[in-house]
């Protein structure tokens, strides 16, 4: 299992889907571990009744059905799937509405979904998801990307109210891929994934949604900046190590060739 995870860490990001299927067939007894520890790009379903799409993940799945955050119904329908309590569902509805606006502000398009469920510790867990297609045929405003995908998964564990504060533990994962393609410079693709955690103790009076939202916004921003500056930067550094920019190379001509 360790070997499998080590392998997955070093597989180039765009092959992760194939690699995961392969590992699942080689190690069928470890499937639940593999699925929970390896990040996969997000899938989407249409909630036709509500006229909106929603994101699929382990947190809204039961058997082969997925619960829509808009209608609170399972697709395809289920006899008795799990649902959040009515109080939590109210928070979930509000979270979906507000997060959709957040998504619009930062992603100028894209799909968002929020799922909540009670946990055993008298607190609850919330999962905020975003899927953005930034390609010029998708929601890429500026039309630079031949292909562009951003998947964000934020899981917040919220502890019970203890003297007015709650303990929040956020795990954020971002997966992305971007490709530009043109005549003069060929194809250029950057892809990758990154995961970080953040914990805070915050006043419940501010509101759970406010507290979770602030943390997500902060961590998502940090991940974005880290990807752009550190991670992309390191790959650029590697290229310049392989072949340093050579402003100083002389062109040689037959009549003044050095002997």
């Amino acid at each position: 299992m360790d070997a499998a995870l080590g392998l997955m860490r070093r597989i180039p990001p765009k092959h992760i889907d194939t690699a995961l299927s392969a590992l699942l067939s080689l190690l069928p007894h470890h499937s639940s571990d593999l699925l929970s520890q390896v990040d996969q790009p997000l899938q989407v379903l249409s909630d036709i009744e509500c006229g909106k799409e929603f994101i699929l993940c382990e947190y809204n799945r039961d058997a082969d059905s997925y619960r829509s955050p808009w209608s609170n119904k399972y697709h395809p329908p289920l006899e008795d799937g799990p649902y959040p309590s009515s109080d939590l569902r109210k928070l979930e509805i509000e979270a979906n509405d507000v997060f959709a606006v957040y998504c619009d502000q930062y992603y100028e398009g894209g799909i968002s979904s929020v799922y909540m469920w009670e946990d055993e510790n008298e607190g609850f867990v919330a999962c905020f998801l975003i899927k953005k297609d930034g390609s010029k045929s998708g929601h890429g405003r500026r039309g630079y990307l031949q292909e562009g995908a951003w998947d964000a998964i934020h899981v917040v564990e919220v502890g019970p109210d203890e003297n007015g504060t709650s303990h929040y533990c956020l795990t954020s994962t971002v997966m992305l891929s971007l490709t530009t393609n043109n005549e003069s410079s060929g194809s250029f693709n950057l892809s990758g994934s990154i995961r970080r955690q953040m914990t805070m103790d915050l006043a419940v009076a501010e509101g759970h949604l406010h507290n979770m939202g602030k943390m997500i916004e902060e961590l998502e921003g940090k991940l974005r900046n880290s990807l752009e500056q550190v991670y992309f930067g390191k790959t650029k550094e590697m290229v310049c190590t392989l072949r340093p920019p050579a402003e100083l190379l002389q062109m040689r001509f037959p009549d003044n060739r050095d002997v």
């Binding site: 392998l7 860490r9 070093r10 597989i11 180039p12 990001p13 765009k14 194939t18 690699a19 392969a22 590992l23 080689l26 069928p28 509405d97 507000v98 606006v101 502000q105 930062y106 992603y107 100028e108 890429g140 500026r142 039309g143 990307l145 562009g148 951003w150 971007l178 530009t180 003069s184 060929g186 194809s187 250029f188 693709n189 950057l190 892809s191 990758g192 990154i194 995961r195 501010e206 509101g207 949604l209 939202g213 921003g221 990807l227 752009e228 991670y231 992309f232 390191k234 790959t235 590697m238 290229v239 392989l242 072949r243 340093p244 920019p245 190379l249 062109m251 001509f253 037959p254 060739r257």
Partner: protein
């Protein structure tokens, strides 16, 4: 297949999967397979492909230099020609070492006419590669027309440049691979040049990000004496590769304001953080717009 358990896959399938992993990541697959025979079988097919695709270089045991493992210099799956020293290396693909070396036979080498060109290009190219790539290796192969005795016929040379860095302690790997096909066309007295460059970099410290960039270009020059051809061909290669590096750097500097922004902005258009405290307002606004039937 009927009497296999539901979750078992066939040996052939295991080999296919192992081959795929071996081709797509540094070799580390034995533990997962738990089956040495499957591993050996997959490895013996996958490693040669991996080594040729990655243009790896191996040291000659007699310390006479390096041999590039490419399809252009392949005599058979285990033997590779180094045109510079006119030697053939016998290799172990799985261990990635050169086991033995022998001189190349006359049939394996080009004619002295072609060799004059090949050698001149290689000499000039080696100077360029030595200047431009801190750790680059290059070879020039004749892939067609190697028995051409004199002017009057076509022949083709292939230039291969390979530079790689493996720095697992810094969680970083990278490779630059260029292949330049040089066709000497006698009737037009022209040399047609086609270049393919592939650059990759992988950084995986607490995360996992990869660059995969490819570029193709064409150029041409006239047929001249071997030394003059070598200079103009190397200038062409130098020019295009330098330009490509510049365009790679430009792609990186475009990220903040253009390409990456198409995925996620740094901040909303308002240039302020999201007003989470005004959520009540948002909810109210949505309710009102719904009731009045405004907007979506």
């Amino acid at each position: 297949m009927a009497d296999q358990e539901e979750n078992e896959i066939s040996v052939e399938q295991k080999i296919e999967i192992a081959k795929w992993f071996l081709l797509n990541s540094p070799p580390d697959v034995k533990a997962i397979l738990g089956d040495d025979e499957v591993y050996e079988s997959a490895a013996s097919e996958a490693f040669p492909l991996y080594n040729k695709a990655h243009l790896i270089s191996l040291q000659f045991p007699n310390r006479s230099g390096d041999v590039l493992i490419t399809s252009f210099g392949e005599i058979n799956v285990n033997e590779y020609l180094d045109p510079r020293t006119a030697q053939v290396a016998k290799v172990d693909h799985i261990k990635q070492v050169c086991k033995s070396v022998r001189p190349a036979t006359d049939e394996e080498l080009p004619s002295s006419y072609v060799e004059e060109y090949r050698c001149a290009v290689e000499a000039e190219l080696s100077r360029y590669v030595g200047e431009a790539y801190p750790k680059g290796i290059c070879s020039v192969f004749c892939t067609s027309g190697k028995d051409v005795e004199d002017a009057g016929s076509d022949f083709t040379l292939v230039v291969v440049i390979s530079a790689a860095r493996h720095s697992p302690q810094n969680f970083c790997n990278g490779s630059w691979r260029s292949t330049w096909t040089i066709e000497f066309k006698d009737d037009l007295q022209v040399v047609e040049v086609t270049g393919r460059v592939q650059v990759g970099a992988h950084y995986f410290e607490e995360g996992n990000v990869q660059l995969d960039a490819k570029h193709e270009c064409k150029d041409s020059t006239i047929i001249q004496a071997a030394d003059d051809c070598a200079i103009s061909l190397t200038n062409i290669i130098r020019h295009h590769e330098t330009e490509y590096l510049t365009s790679l750097q430009a792609s990186y500097s475009n990220l903040p304001d253009t390409t990456f922004k198409d995925l996620r902005r740094k901040l909303p258009v308002t240039r302020t953080l999201f007003p989470w405290h005004n959520t009540v307002q948002f909810a109210l606004t949505k309710d009102i717009t719904k009731e009045l039937g405004i907007g979506k």
